[in-house]
Symmetry: C5
Subunit: 95 residues, 5 copies
């Protein structure tokens, strides 16, 4: 997984996924301290992450291992909302 | 998923996929505002996206999670046609 | 999928795949007009593509979705032989 | 797999994985001698790797091939704790 | 698949894979002539490839499509030992 910051939403009414009420977030990858912004991803969000939150992004077939995304054409999912990141014995990110 | 712009089509009559009437689109990845053009992908299109439309591209095994692509050698699919992208509280793309 | 040009073959008699008569091609990724040469791939070829032909390369688990590659340790396959690519309303490649 | 150095932990109490007591490590990819630090990954750790240890990171659907990660939205796992790396006939890393 | 040169071994006694006698090789990706060295991979070797040999590396879920790696957290495997590579009508590599 990688750390990503929630920056927005993507609306697509014509989709293949048939997931009622599916919520797609626009997220940007960060460094390991939750800082910086590199590439973006569009990810299904089953957790209700809010704008600006740091999340764990899981990609590939692993994105389909939830009740809502099972057997759906979804290749990225918000798998967790990050509370804290510790590196080298220090908290480098706190929610 | 990533955002891509539909730029054309690819015709291949000799294929492994055995999908009658399969439609393969040529799409180019964009930035998160639907602008710019970077790498291209060839994707199965079950939604009938038109030239110039912004779409959601799903890759890997997730591309096989539709009725037409199930158990087919397809690694990229048009999973949605994008209506709107919001970032930092503002619409950065509208269809 | 991506577009690739067939440039050669790879022979490996000691393999894990147990596919009788398996044919592995050396292909190079091209731009979306079928031009240029970037990275190379070694791909199973169930279609009999010839040297110099432009093909559709499918990667990952999707490469196993054919009769010959089913449950085999193959991560790239020639999924189609390209006849024509159209971009922005014009043919940019014709076989 | 690639070699990674354990540098910290990631805490996310709100997750999709439903794995009781799941432990997520922050790891950084190294060169083949276990030196240097490039990109980071967040990986499930079923082995109890300690800070500073060199580990084998497995990604994608392979990360789900353990008892704890089976059918969970996890795309990276600590698959082994490295004791020694030999290259060109010499030990280039020893635990 | 890509071509890789066998450069060494990785020993990890504490692993998730439960494969008795599993042998992990350190390999480096080469160009299509089997020359040069770029990124490295750690791959399960069911074929007994020797140091310096050129091999076919298969990655992702395809690495699990052998008897020894089935349902194991292994994302790279030595799928073949290369005898010859031909490009543009000439042998560019011979074992």
């Amino acid at each position: 997984m990688i750390l990503c910051r929630v920056v927005g939403t993507v609306v697509a009414t014509h989709r293949c996924d048939d997931i009622p009420g599916a919520r797609y977030l626009l997220v940007q990858a960060t460094d390991m301290k939750g800082q910086g912004r590199t590439g973006y991803h569009v990810a299904l969000d089953p957790l209700g992450a809010g704008p600006g939150e740091l999340v764990l992004l899981s990609r590939g077939s692993s994105a389909r291992q939830t009740e809502s995304s099972h057997q759906k054409p979804v290749d990225a999912i918000v798998a967790g909302i990050v509370d804290q990141v510790d590196a080298h014995g220090h908290a480098v990110y706190r929610k």
